[in-house]
């Protein structure tokens, strides 16, 4: 009897946790469909705020910037991180202590420190060379830097999970180095690459702090636009953007998770 009470208590706690996590998001999504202007009262469903978004040049450009930034940085991070992940795998028997720390550090470093450092660095380079004017370019570089560790670790763990003899089997079966990459390595780690891409994409879309410090006047992304807009108060329009972002990130994160769960026999 007592056990049953405990079980119920725990079940209740679980739902409380879920509510705590998702209720705020639900409120934002709900109010994005609010027919009235007021953020205080809900007066029926409407798509007017979404329609309003579509007509707002500033928002559309911020959306475009976010997408260009997320896709470009993810592709670059995928290429570099994949090579690093393979390198870590190939040299896993050596003592790589400090190298692993170097790879992990950007993950645990506070975003604000990372952002400020990147900004200072870009400004310095710009002073000396005239290159790296703050804008999408500098943002892409900054995003690639924090995405690389995630890609490298995902790719590395995929390689570690493989039977090492497979690499020898590929050599033994007449595959040249290039063909080993094309016909064995890339197809074998494909699920890891897809997972890493969507994780990078999500991280990029989510990021505000690092983007904020490295952006230029023309390269505001959605989070930066929202930050600017809410200084004038939370409008239902912002709710609509937030709801769309929640949807996009949920899809990307689900794809990432689905592919990272794929196990080899």
């Amino acid at each position: 009897m007592r056990k049953r009470t405990l079980q119920r208590g725990l079940t209740g706690f679980w739902w409380l946790t879920v509510a705590f996590l998702y209720l705020p998001l639900a409120v934002v999504v709900l109010f994005s469909f609010n027919a009235s202007n007021s953020a205080a009262s809900f007066s029926g469903l409407s798509l007017r705020w979404y329609r309003r978004l579509m007509g707002n040049e500033e928002i559309l450009s911020a959306f475009a910037n976010s997408m260009v930034l997320a896709i470009t940085s993810s592709v670059i991070a995928l290429a570099i991180g994949c090579l690093i992940g393979y390198g870590m795998y190939r040299h896993r028997h050596r003592k790589l202590g400090w190298l692993i720390v170097l790879i992990y550090l950007p993950i645990v470093l506070p975003d604000i420190v990372f952002g400020i450092s990147e900004m200072a660095f870009f400004v310095q380079i710009h002073d000396w060379t005239g290159l790296l004017q703050p804008g999408l370019g500098t943002m892409i570089i900054a995003h690639v830097t924090f995405q690389i560790p995630f890609v490298a670790l995902i790719v590395y763990s995929r390689f570690v999970g493989l039977d090492p003899t497979l690499f020898e089997a590929a050599k033994d079966l007449y595959a040249t180095p290039v063909r080993r990459v094309v016909h064995f390595m890339l197809p074998t780690i494909k699920p890891a690459l897809i997972s890493a891409f969507f994780l990078s994409f999500t991280l990029s879309i989510d990021d505000f702090v690092i983007s904020f410090f490295t952006s230029g006047p023309e390269s505001a992304t959605l989070p930066i636009y929202i930050w600017g807009a809410i200084k004038k108060g939370v409008s239902p329009e912002i709710n609509a953007i937030a709801a769309l972002m929640i949807g996009a990130v949920a899809v990307a994160a689900t794809i990432s998770l689905a592919f990272s769960r794929r196990r080899l026999t």
């Binding site: 039977d163 003899t165 497979l166 020898e168 033994d172 079966l173 016909h183 074998t188």
Partner: protein, 376 residues
């Protein structure tokens, strides 16, 4: 290389025996000999894997590298495959020096211990992998895969996914994947060690049949001396990076050259020779007459060559013993006999006659021609 042996053999339905001439023909067309000279390999500073190995393997031979783990047999196989480069020495396969040729340019294929089937490919794609890497067009790849599938009798396994296969099935796919490439030499790295005993002996027979029908040179690595004796034309016993003995299974088992080979082949009855007068050898067992005195300082008595008679019988090479232990195994019985302070193992075939019991006094009869002397 245009007309292939696998194709020829596979054309025949089922297990039609191949004629001797046909086998001969196959051997001369396909198989390659291997010559190894002064192969040295060291890992790190002080791990010597191979310490100067000279070995010739004949074309069409089923050759086994036998030894305990760490003896260098796997390193030797990996050097043959090209997966490891020797520090010194040369390797000639089929008359061509291949010491520094990378694995993807050697006409040598390996059946790996873990089978190493590609998980991202179907069974058919696994089988076709080597052919694809060699640039064979899809139609010919498929034809060859079907031929080998018929030859190894894979049936509908070809259309399955790798994760749907059992251990024994994986083993046969791994064998087929290597054979379909028609290599000059096939290397097998303990390919049966992960299987249970029944399946293992079944696949031993199958592997042996495949080798005889193709006449291909097989180099087989194992630590199991029973398996080595069943399969091989010749065996090389390795220890500490050195070859201890090379010979036919009977030679290695019945006439081991030293104590290591004798012990590794499963012999326990080894006795230091304390004195010798011509063909009369003195050991802890007493004085025994051998056919020849020999040179070695150890005497080997194989348990299955002994006659065990009930009671005490006097005679030349008759030893009086007490039964200390009897293990009844159905087809035969194993005895641990005590002669003074010394023990002697004897195996007696169960012909339905009286088998001595524990504590019985018996007489062991040793035939002079069955005594072997060897060095430490």
């Amino acid at each position: 290389m245009s007309e292939t042996i696998t194709a020829d053999v596979a054309d025949q339905p089922g297990a039609t025996p191949v004629t001797a001439e046909r086998q001969q023909e196959a051997a001369t067309r396909k198989a390659s000999s291997i010559e190894m000279q002064g192969l040295h390999k060291r890992f790190g500073r002080d791990t010597v894997a191979l310490d100067g190995v000279d070995l010739d393997i004949q074309a069409g031979e089923f050759f086994t590298l036998l030894g305990p783990s760490g003896c260098g047999k796997t390193t030797l196989l990996r050097i043959l495959a090209g997966l490891e480069e020797p520090d010194a020495g040369s390797l000639v396969v089929g008359g061509k020096t291949v010491t520094e040729v990378p694995p993807h340019r050697r006409s040598v294929n390996t059946v790996f211990q873990s089978y190493a089937l590609f998980p991202h490919l179907s069974v058919r794609e696994n089988l076709a992998f080597g052919l694809k890497m060699r640039g064979l067009p899809a139609a010919r790849r498929n034809a060859k895969v079907d031929e080998i599938a018929g030859f190894i009798k894979l049936g509908d396994l070809v259309e399955r996914r790798v994760d749907q296969l059992s251990g024994g099935q994986r083993q046969r796919i791994a064998l087929a994947r290597a054979l379909v490439c028609e290599p000059d030499v096939l290397l097998l790295d303990e390919p049966l060690s992960a299987l249970d005993a029944g399946l293992r002996s079944q696949l031993q027979v199958e592997l042996l049949r495949v080798q005889k029908r193709l006449g291909m040179t097989f180099v087989f690595v194992t630590h199991d001396q029973q398996e080595a004796m069943v399969m091989s034309d010749r065996i090389a016993v390795l220890n500490g990076g050195n070859i201890q003995q090379v010979g036919a299974p009977r030679e290695v088992y019945e006439r081991p050259v030293n104590a290591f080979v004798a012990r590794f082949m499963g012999h326990d009855n080894l006795y230091p020779i304390t004195a010798r007068h011509g063909d009369r050898l003195t050991t802890a067992l007493g004085e025994l007459t051998a056919e020849e005195g020999g040179e070695g300082e150890l005497l080997l008595i194989r348990p299955e060559t002994l006659d065990v008679l009930p009671g005490e019988v006097e005679g030349r090479n008759h030893l009086q013993a007490t039964v200390a232990e009897r293990l009844y195994r159905g087809s035969h019985a194993e005895f641990r006999l005590e002669i003074g302070e010394t023990t002697l193992q004897a195996t007696v075939n169960n012909r339905g006659r009286h088998l001595p019991d524990m504590g019985d006094r018996v007489t062991v009869v040793v035939a002079p021609e069955d005594l072997v002397t060897l060095s430490e």
